[in-house]
């Protein structure tokens, strides 16, 4: 499954206009307080309301300007090259700094204090002399902030993409692992049918029907990873009836599922490889009195699935041997690991003379999805 990497960049919460401008004004207020304290040290007196007004307006103007800059030029600022910065942003910073000062001077005709009356242009020149560099610093701080946000967002995007890729990879792995389970058994069954065809047409016919049903179910499930235990057991029953035909009465099959567990979720095709294993490495070595026990039990918050056979002990075929046994079991192991991490256990043990039991424990989860429309009643 392909998960598209999301391209929408969420705006940082502090870039909301109200929050951004208020923060800027608050900063101005702090500067005002700072100046008020410092001028008092020099035993020089300026009224606090005037300071708050002057600083507040200045930072309010800067707040609005910077927010508009973000709004109109945010992306361009984030992507700007050095050339663009020198030829466009630098002149822009000077123009904006002057413009801001022009508005500010317009609002405070009485400043600077204790000076003879000056014309607007004289006052502007006076202020610019002191404040231009200062304004430029504010502008470039905002510039740096916007670039920083850009870098942060890019970093987060990369991180998200990496996480999504990891999920996709796990999905792909799971899909492959599931696919590896089927053909093996498909070809074996086809071979059995082919050999039956010559001796017992009716039996071959039945086996073909069963194989058809199995394939239909497998295809229907498609890429689904989890299914109801009930559905998995139905599949197992069909598989067992195919095996029963191949081993004709040599193996006694016992299935038991606790009724509470019919709706429990299990990884699809988790039992079939274990059963196939029991046949190929255990039960096939017996002429008679074979026993296969498949159980699903509930233990508190866990679901235990076990497959026991009395064919041959572990020493005759090591579970991790190179005789092909390893592949199916290793597949199950890695699927369990990918699905449940450390919350599962998988163990294979010789419980008595020649009796091998494979036990899987999973966290117990129940299906909540809707069921099939069938069954239905009719007159």
């Amino acid at each position: 499954m392909f998960l598209p990497i999301s391209r929408t960049r969420p705006q940082p919460i502090f870039m909301h206009p109200a929050i951004f401008v208020s923060a800027s004004v608050l900063l101005g207020m702090l500067f005002a307080l700072q100046q008020w304290m410092s001028v008092r040290l020099w035993s020089y007196h300026i009224g606090i309301p005037l300071l708050l007004e002057a600083w507040g307006l200045q930072y309010f103007l800067w707040g609005v300007i910077c927010w508009l800059l973000w709004r109109w030029m945010g992306t361009r600022i984030q992507q700007a090259s050095v050339f663009y910065i020198i030829t466009r942003v630098l002149p822009l910073s000077i123009i904006i700094s002057i413009a801001e000062e022009m508005i500010w001077v317009l609002c405070f005709p009485n400043l600077p204090l204790r000076h003879r009356p000056m014309t607007y242009w004289q006052r502007l020149a006076f202020q610019l002399d002191a404040e231009l560099i200062y304004n430029m610093v504010i502008f470039w701080c905002a510039f740096a902030l916007f670039r920083g946000i850009g870098y942060y967002q890019k970093f987060r995007e990369k991180e998200d993409a990496a996480a999504q890729l990891a999920v996709q990879l796990a999905h792909a792995q799971l899909a492959t692992l599931r696919m590896q389970l089927n053909p093996h058994f498909l070809f074996n069954t086809m071979n059995s049918i082919s050999s039956l065809m010559r001796t017992d047409v009716v039996a071959a016919d039945t086996m073909l029907e069963q194989l058809g049903s199995l394939l239909r179910i497998t295809l229907e499930r498609g890429e689904v990873q989890f299914i109801r235990l009930n559905d998995e057991m139905e599949f197992v029953e069909m598989y067992l009836s195919l095996q029963e035909r191949r081993f004709e009465g040599r193996v006694r099959q016992q299935l038991s599922v606790h009724p509470e567990l019919h709706d429990a979720l299990v990884p699809a095709m988790i039992l079939q490889p274990l059963i196939e294993n029991a046949y190929t490495h255990g039960l096939s070595k017996l002429d008679s009195n074979g026993l296969l026990v498949i159980e699903a039990l509930r233990e508190d918050t866990c679901l235990t699935l076990s497959v026991l056979n009395n064919g041959a002990g572990l020493n005759s075929s090591l579970p991790n041997g190179l005789d092909g046994q390893g592949v199916g079991l290793a597949n199950i192991r890695s699927r369990l690991q990918l699905h449940y991490g450390e919350a599962q256990t998988f163990c294979i043990r010789e419980v008595a003379q020649d009796q091998v039991r494979v036990t899987i424990t999973l966290p117990l989860q129940f299906s909540s999805g809707p069921t099939e429309k069938l069954p239905r009643f009719g007159a």
Partner: protein, 252 residues
């Protein structure tokens, strides 16, 4: 009585298989084979068969179109339909138009045999009703006569008369027939509602039995009651339901 049948399938080999398997059914006589929907419609109109084996996916119109077309002509008696298809998704539609059975390819001769058996019963029943001049079709009761469900990759149109007994398993019920059991996601009470009480009896919170297959009610040494089925199978019975059954047994 002979049952005249038409085979409709666009694949030669599929028709050949049906023809071969139907040799085992002496009562069924094949009167025609259609390779397309329009051919089939013409054949049915010309021969008026009792039974139609119908594939769903065919060139031109599909199997349901054939049925629609056929039911539009008033003078024609509708044949019983057995669907043969590789697709399971039309099962409910087939069930709704009262098809006799729904065979998923590949099917065995056994499965075909049971479908033909069922068709035969249906055809006889309609013949008898027709014989009694103004028979009123079904017995008019609102109880279900069959259930459609999927079990082990097959679609089953199970007649309730084939059910021996039903056991509860949490959110599921286990339906036991002569040779098989099927697990269905259904509740006992919902099932009990749909089943004819003349035919089925709840003997326990978790068991319903078909009276047709009930042999006796036995009192165990410990005072408990057990229902014994014809095949010897025992089903536990609770006291609260006991009076109901003794009443019923007294009646018969």
């Amino acid at each position: 009585m002979m049952i005249h049948a038409i085979l409709a399938d666009d694949e030669v080999l599929a028709r050949q298989k049906l023809r071969q398997l139907l040799r085992e059914e002496p009562e069924v006589e094949i009167v025609g084979e259609g390779a397309s929907a329009s051919e089939t419609i013409d054949l049915v109109r010309a021969t008026g068969p009792e039974l139609l084996f119908l594939d769903i996916r065919m060139p031109g119109m599909d199997g349901f179109d054939v049925i629609g077309e056929l039911s539009a002509s008033i003078d024609l008696a509708m044949p019983s339909i057995i669907f043969t298809t590789a697709h399971d998704r039309y099962a409910l539609r087939a069930f709704d138009i009262h098809a006799v059975d729904y065979l998923l390819k590949p099917f065995t001769s056994e499965r075909l045999h049971s479908a033909v058996q069922r068709a035969r019963e249906q055809i006889y029943a309609t013949k008898q009703i027709a014989g009694r001049s103004n028979g009123r079709g079904q017995n008019g009761s609102s109880y279900t006569t069959r259930i459609v469900f999927k079990s082990r990759g097959r679609i089953l149109f199970l007649s309730v008369s084939d059910i021996r007994w039903i056991g509860a398993e949490e959110n599921y019920v286990r339906i036991c027939t002569e040779g098989e059991t099927h697990l269905l996601r259904e509740t006992m009470s919902r099932l009990e509602e749909r089943l004819d009480p003349q035919m089925f009896l709840r003997v326990h919170r978790s068991a319903i039995v078909n009276l047709q297959y009930l042999k006796e009610v036995r009192t165990e040494p410990n005072g408990e009651f057990t229902v014994v089925m014809v095949n010897g199978q025992k089903v536990a019975m609770s006291r609260s339901y006991h009076s109901r059954i003794s009443e019923l047994l007294a009646r018969s």
